[in-house]
Amino acid sequence: MSPADLVRVLVEPFTEPIVQRAAAGVVLLGIVGGLAGCWVVLYGLSYAAESLAHGSLPGMVVAVAAGLPLVVGTSGGLLVAAAAIALVARVPALGRDTAVSIVISTMLGLGALLALAPSTPRGLAALLFGDVLGLSTADLAVGVLVAALLAVLLTVFHGRLLAVGFDRESAARLGVRPGLVELLLLVLLGLALVVVVPALGNLLAAAILIGPAATARLVTRRVPSLLAVAVLLAIGCGLAGLEASYQLSTASGATIAATILVVYLLALGRATLRRRSVPPAGSSGPAVR
């Protein structure tokens, strides 16, 4: 196959309107997931992000059954899951981790039960694994809105997020209120999930939040470059996954998640090899692979 043929084969899927729409969706997912994901990873909230994504399943199923937009169901599900975790975590005998896993397995089970009821129209698989190719115009509009909101809020509060993540107590001494900053981050995470969960599904949503950010963490040394690399990686993996799913006729969400994982493993391998061969002082600036 000549290079020109290869390009033609690769470009071909993107001539179809449905794939173009999906590509636009993937770019939005990359921006939202990459931006929010970096702070989620820096604040050690990966587990919370994944749990909240799973916990939104019952809300999504109810929305589908009631004929409401998926975004509405996801937001409702997220709020219920967050409230339930906050409540159960108050039981003194349970640790926070235990509380989270109890709530989340219950919610997942409840969601599956609801989804398997004969009266529920949309298949459980679509909710669990998402449907990048089925994004509506409303979904895309919400995505644009959330991406813009995230970009603005993360820019305005950059200094505060950075200071609290670095050292909570010192940040308070600088006049920053750590509780408010952490609350803001949770709200941003919720916003991001509202966009990411309907597209990538309940089980795979966390992949685009955590994966690109964790990969970017391996190759960058400051937060601005971390954010940029994570967003580019998320978009790149999203588009590559979309392409692969078209060529290989695999599920789009799962293929995107798999691409993200492969890229992370490659970066991890490279970082490990470097650490073994070169002394850390000789490390160069950020590199994108």
Binding site: F166, V176, R217
Partner: protein
């Protein structure tokens, strides 16, 4: 600059009579304890004029951190008065901050500009210049863009001092800054503090090491109460060191009184 009152019993006319130097901190008859607990530090009285470096000496649990936390406003005095002028800059131990966090020395120093900047305002040119100046003052211009976590312990401590300078703090409170530093690192840090004192900054430095304590302008010896305050050459007697570090906490009035040779040196009076 404005005077900030930190205690109910405070008074604005707190300058010592006849002194023409600006005081950055004045503490009188302070007693303090943690909420709901007993009093853990009492009879503390001292004043810090601009440019003075004070070593705060004492055993673990002797009240060094309690004093710093009271000055910072974390703890309310149960009795007595604490007055500070201008902004306080707290310099914590650096092992508490995350060393794997992706920030450069410059990023950390710039955090000082969060103090006194409206939440919606991004750091401006002045903030960046103040950050560069502060890093220059602590001798870290060359390393400004290195990751904070890859600096040595002494360099990290100096970054946090730069952060306090960006805050525009004139009185620095340092919590055991020499812990874990090697000799060159300690010397470098001391020289930085000397330079800052020439610029009119003062510092209260919680320290462990008695030998090093002789290098401060004044030392404040704490052991649940103030044992002594004054010039190290005069007050660091074996008697004071015994009272500071030894088991004896109760002080007899006459035993302490004879250690107070001049009016500028205040010594604890039990029950005062």
């Amino acid at each position: 600059m404005q005077w900030r009152r930190r205690s109910a019993a405070g008074s604005r006319a707190a300058r010592s009579p006849g002194s023409d130097e600006a005081l950055l901190c004045e503490v009188a008859d302070l007693a303090v304890g943690y909420p709901g607990g007993p009093i853990v530090l009492e009879d503390v009285s001292f004043a810090v004029p601009a440019g003075m470096l004070v070593g705060v000496l004492g055993p673990n649990g002797g009240g060094k951190s309690t004093l710093l936390r009271t000055l910072l406003g974390d703890l309310r005095p149960r009795a007595g008065r604490v007055v500070t002028e201008g902004r306080l800059g707290f310099v914590p131990q650096t092992d508490r901050s995350r060393l794997d966090y992706p920030v450069s020395a410059r990023d950390v120093a710039l955090m000082g500009s969060l103090t006194g900047r409206a939440w919606w305002r991004p750091p401006g040119r002045d903030d960046r210049r103040a950050t560069a100046d502060a890093l220059a003052k602590v001798g870290l211009t060359e390393l400004a863009d290195e990751p904070f976590g890859e600096l040595s312990g002494g360099q990290r401590q100096r970054v946090l001092i730069a952060r306090a300078l960006v805050q525009d703090a004139r009185l620095l409170l340092l919590d055991e800054p020499f812990a874990g530093l090697d000799l060159p690192g300690s010397d470098r840090l001391l020289r930085v503090l000397d330079d800052l004192s020439d610029d009119g900054c003062s510092a209260l430095v919680a320290v462990h090491d008695v030998d090093q304590a002789r290098r401060w302008d004044r030392v404040l010896c704490l052991n649940r109460r103030q044992v002594a305050f004054g010039e190290p050459a005069t007050i660091l007697t074996s008697r004071v060191l015994e009272l500071t570090y030894g088991g004896a906490i109760t002080l007899g009035g006459h035993e302490v009184d004879h250690l107070a040779p001049t009016a500028s040196q205040r010594v604890a009076r039990p029950g005062g």
